[in-house]
């Protein structure tokens, strides 16, 4: 009698064990190859598969939109997911496991930069082919990558330093407006700044400099918060940063030469996918190195006990100032990219709403963890796109999900873990 009851559980356990044995041997490289296979299949056969499954067109965002809009198409969409993504990824990854392991072992011998470049190249190839199908995917992907940058840079301040900064949309706004002003003034004919000063052809090459300028101005703005933070922390700093956010928004609304409350539009289309991808990778790489550096350790010491850190020769003032400016710099860069993705900014897009969004992504993913920030930003962003057909109920489901995460894992899904690229890329044999 007992054995009968346990059978499904046992079968499930067996299945799980077999899946683990199956997937444990595949290195990241193998999964990436599988991903390329899947997106290539979708690229060439997507139309055909979706036609035979009775779908009107290739599902844009993993079939979520179709499933929610027309529940009758759910089997078709699930079938599509299995046929185009699930099975190919598994089989290609499995088939290529041995050569991929050999390649990973070979790459592990050389410098980590080369190994990382190979992996990133493959990842970019996947994303490029995947987004080639529709402009909507490009937009979602770009915004997701920008959200990753924002969340990560907020994690430096809120997670690693342990403050509660509410000013991130303000830094983002400063970056967005600085970068847009530079590009519009130099490279575009528009109504705010008149004729372009430089030929538009060199614009894309100049754009990284404009982004850095935006980041630097945002970092300067961060001084307004960093200096009071020497004397106070916690709630009062939260208020100071909140007041800073209100002030920045209000200043921009009053500056007529950047368009006031109407905002700026028709930025040149410089934030293309490779640009955003490269900046995001740089951001992850630099922030990961920052938090693992001596300064990053000092940061954690300041978070846990400021007095003790001070007596252990940590220069708390310098640490706080550098961290605020560092976080604000990346928020400014992300803002610059954001302005050139949407090609329109107005002060209203950097308000409390945006703050709640970034905080949600940060705390969903987890504090003090680069991986957590990436996971949080990607999942909340994709979720909010995928639930779009639910319209307003989307904003009930996502907060509920976040509350559940907070109740059961108060520091977020993946908190206090380090991001180890070497570990990630190692061979599994």
């Amino acid at each position: 009698m007992e054995t009968k009851q346990e059978t499904p559980q046992r079968a499930y356990k067996n299945l799980l064990a077999r899946y683990k044995a199956f997937s444990n041997r595949i290195p990241l490289l193998g999964w990436l190859c599988g991903g390329i296979g899947a997106v290539l299949i979708e690229y060439f056969l997507g139309d055909l598969v979706s036609y035979y499954l009775g779908l009107p067109k290739v599902p844009v965002l993993f079939g979520c939109l179709i499933m929610l809009k027309k529940p009758i198409l759910i089997p078709g969409a699930v079938g599509y997911l299995l046929l185009v993504y699930g099975l190919p990824v598994f089989f290609i990854a499995r088939a290529l496991a041995t050569p991929a392991n050999k390649l990973a072992a070979f790459l592990a011998k050389g410098p980590i930069t080369i190994a990382a470049l190979v992996h990133l190249g493959l990842l970019y190839a996947i994303l490029h082919i995947w987004t080639d199908m529709s402009d909507y995917r490009v937009l979602v992907l770009k915004l997701t990558m920008i959200a990753v940058m924002l969340t990560l840079s907020l994690n430096v301040i809120n997670g690693y330093m342990g403050e509660f900064s509410c000013s991130h949309p303000g830094f983002m706004a400063i970056g967005a407006y600085t970068t847009s002003t530079i590009t519009l003034w130099l490279f575009a004919n528009d109504k705010l700044f008149g004729e372009a000063l430089l030929p538009a052809a060199i614009g894309p090459f100049f754009f990284p400099l404009a982004l850095i300028a935006g980041g630097l101005v945002a970092a300067l703005g961060a001084l307004v918060i960093a200096i009071p933070s020497f004397r106070t922390r916690g709630d009062y700093l939260a208020i100071i940063s909140l007041a800073f956010l209100f002030i920045v928004k209000s200043i921009i609304e009053n500056l007529e030469f950047v368009g006031g409350p109407r905002g700026m539009s028709s930025q040149p289309n410089y934030s293309n996918l490779p640009m955003v991808f490269i900046v995001m990778v740089l951001c992850i790489w630099i922030i990961n190195n920052f938090v693992r550096s001596t300064l990053g350790k000092a940061l954690c010491a300041v978070r846990d006990n400021e007095l003790a850190a001070e007596s252990m020769t940590v220069n708390t003032r310098k640490t706080k100032m550098v961290t605020f400016m560092f976080g604000a710099f990346w928020a400014g860069v992300a803002g610059g990219l954001f302005a050139h993705v949407l090609r329109y900014v107005n002060p209203g897009s950097f308000g409390i709403q945006r703050l709640a969004e970034i905080l949600a992504m940060l705390y969903f993913g987890g504090l003090n963890s680069v991986t957590g920030s990436i996971v949080g930003a990607v999942s909340i962003n994709l979720l909010s796109e995928a639930l779009r057909p639910l319209e307003i109920f989307k904003w009930i489901i996502i907060p509920l999900l976040l509350i559940l995460v907070m109740l059961y894992r108060p520091t977020g899904l993946i908190a206090f873990t380090e991001f180890k690229p070497k570990e990630l890329m190692r061979s599994k044999e």
Partner: protein, 307 residues
């Protein structure tokens, strides 16, 4: 001079909304050491509940053909709305804050923010995006004192909010429950050992704060009779600023800072172009906090605490 006095009257009205909402933040803070970020939206819920009750009472009066006077309906609306909204507050405490009492404070802050979003969106989903107009329960009358004009609504708003604050003061200072709350805010760890359950005091605090927010919501609806689901967001955050400015956990400080914020905003808008209001008002607050980092009545002992 007349304009100055006129602005004082306006600032008193505007400040009483901030003060009433800031009291809720401050009371919750003094007990639980965390800010209830859904409080701005509780204000909104209170206004909507008040709208529902006022409409129902007006309809009921019309149905039975009894001409209930407007002031009676207003009083009933305020009382009922405070009553029902306090249950909303207790519910939020039960599901959102009680399980997180031991968690990092930022988690509770995020939960509060998310509950706020749920309240806004839930309201939008229930009632649709149209704006409701709060029924004018009492007829507007304007009195002239010298050169300044005072409407009866302004007097009513200031008087009701001041008397609510006085009642709160009496409750906290004289009643047994108030004593428990004061003790709890003095020592969060020891008081539960003395037989005062935190699980009774915390809901009570949420209930009182929410009731005050509901009263503020109805008074706001009297002064600016357009309700929309996002009305609580900005007002709530600004009242939060006032609560901090007064010194966290200080009830008197919160009330005073609420009025101060009202004064700053109104007078900045009077002296400077009104588009500069937020810049100057918040720069002043930044300056105050830079030189008095713990607010007016706050204590420095809790600098180690983190949000």
């Amino acid at each position: 001079m007349d304009l100055f006095l006129q602005n004082i009257v306006n600032a008193l009205q505007w400040g009483s909304f901030y003060a009433l909402i800031a009291l809720g933040y401050s009371m919750v803070y003094s007990i639980l050491m965390l800010f209830n970020f859904a409080h701005g939206d509780i204000f909104m819920v209170g206004a909507y509940i008040g709208f529902g009750i006022a409409t129902a009472l007006l309809g009921f009066a019309a149905m039975i053909g009894l001409p209930l006077p407007g002031w009676l309906i207003l009083i009933l609306t305020i009382l009922f709305s405070m009553f029902f909204t306090s249950f909303v507050g207790m519910l939020i405490e039960r599901i959102g804050y009680r399980p997180l009492r031991e968690a990092p404070r930022a988690s509770a802050a995020i939960t509060g923010l998310m509950i706020g979003i749920i309240l806004e969106t839930g309201n939008l989903a229930l009632l649709g995006a149209r704006r409701l107009s709060f029924p004018a329960l009492i007829e507007s009358a304007t009195y002239q004192f010298g050169g300044i004009f005072v409407t009866n609504k302004k007097i009513l708003i200031v008087l009701v909010s001041l008397s609510l604050m006085y009642v709160l003061h009496l409750f906290i200072q004289k009643s047994k429950w108030g004593m428990a709350m004061r003790a709890m805010s003095f020592d969060f760890q020891a008081v539960p050992l003395m037989g005062v359950s935190i699980n009774k005091i915390a809901p009570l605090t949420f209930a009182i704060g929410s009731a005050l927010a509901a009263a503020a919501g109805i008074l706001y609806g009297l002064a600016y009779p357009v309700l929309d689901p996002y009305m609580g967001v900005l007002l709530g955050w600004k009242a939060f600023v006032a609560a901090i400015l007064g010194g966290r956990g200080s009830i008197l400080g919160a009330a005073l800072a609420g009025f101060l914020l009202g004064f700053i905003e109104i007078f900045v808008a009077w002296i400077f172009p009104s588009t500069l209001r937020d810049i100057i008002a918040y720069s002043i607050i930044l300056l105050i906090l830079t030189f008095r980092p713990h607010g007016f009545f706050g204590q420095a002992h809790s600098t180690q605490l983190r949000l």
